[in-house]
Symmetry: C2
Subunit: 144 residues, 2 copies
Amino acid sequence: MFSKACEYGIRAVIYIAQKSLNEERASLKDITAEIDSPEAFTAKVLQQLAKAKIINSVKGPNGGFEIKKEDIDSIKLSEIVNALDGDSIYKGCGLGLKVCNANEPCPVHDKFTTIRSELRKMLENTNLFELATSLETGLTYLKR
Amino acid sequence: MFSKACEYGIRAVIYIAQKSLNEERASLKDITAEIDSPEAFTAKVLQQLAKAKIINSVKGPNGGFEIKKEDIDSIKLSEIVNALDGDSIYKGCGLGLKVCNANEPCPVHDKFTTIRSELRKMLENTNLFELATSLETGLTYLKR
DNA sequence: TTTAATTCGGATAAATTTGTCCGAATTAAA
DNA sequence: TTTAATTCGGACAAATTTATCCGAATTAAA
């Protein structure tokens, strides 16, 4: 459903959010240990997210990644997915046609439109705060 | 959402079904012209589908691919997807964790479970007959 | 001012997916 | 029986995604 980059990205951002809620920065090493992902590859993903202004990066000793506390509940899952995988999940034909809309639909157009719209809603309605706190309280996990 | 192989596969099978409903076989050339897909690659996909017994292949002059008429309304989209992309769309964690279930969920587990179950239902409830007839009546398209 | 911890960015490599080529096998029809 | 139309299957090639390496830049602290 998502690319590996996006999977790592979402996991990383959730972890960074959790740390940020506790007034702490997360370093790359810290992150990759906590979400069990390849270090160099994850670094690229974090760079992308920093460029997209979803996370903030700080260089130098004691540096790392962080998210402003007050932003955490306004950042939606959809923004992260969008920054890493683009909008092809929502748009684009399920069967790969270049043109596919209500006027000239592919045979599964309507059925896919329904599912995708639900997916879009879900991603747009899920914010980082709830994900980070479920992690903080030990209800959910980022590795295994 | 689906691999290219799966996209071509679904399109091809719908076309083959349409032809089969009209008592005609579809040759590889015929198919790739009609669904606008790369010939050699599509051939591999069709081989996979033939091995999975979803379509029947006939060699020699006037050969091609066909589906028994009486099977067309019992073949579900899910079978095609399963044969080509496996079951990772339904199973498997949305964030790529090896272990992720109700007991040890990832932070998006519940939200994804809902979406995926809808997707599964949709694929399991969509049969080839309806897709092929919507094509036959000119309501839907397989290329562009 | 030096050192060391960190992110940044470019080059490269490995793995996977997508795609091509071509000869072999099959089989209907001339 | 020969020919030609077709699928089959293996080897290969290209493109994309995933992953690694390493030096440069930044910066806090010794």
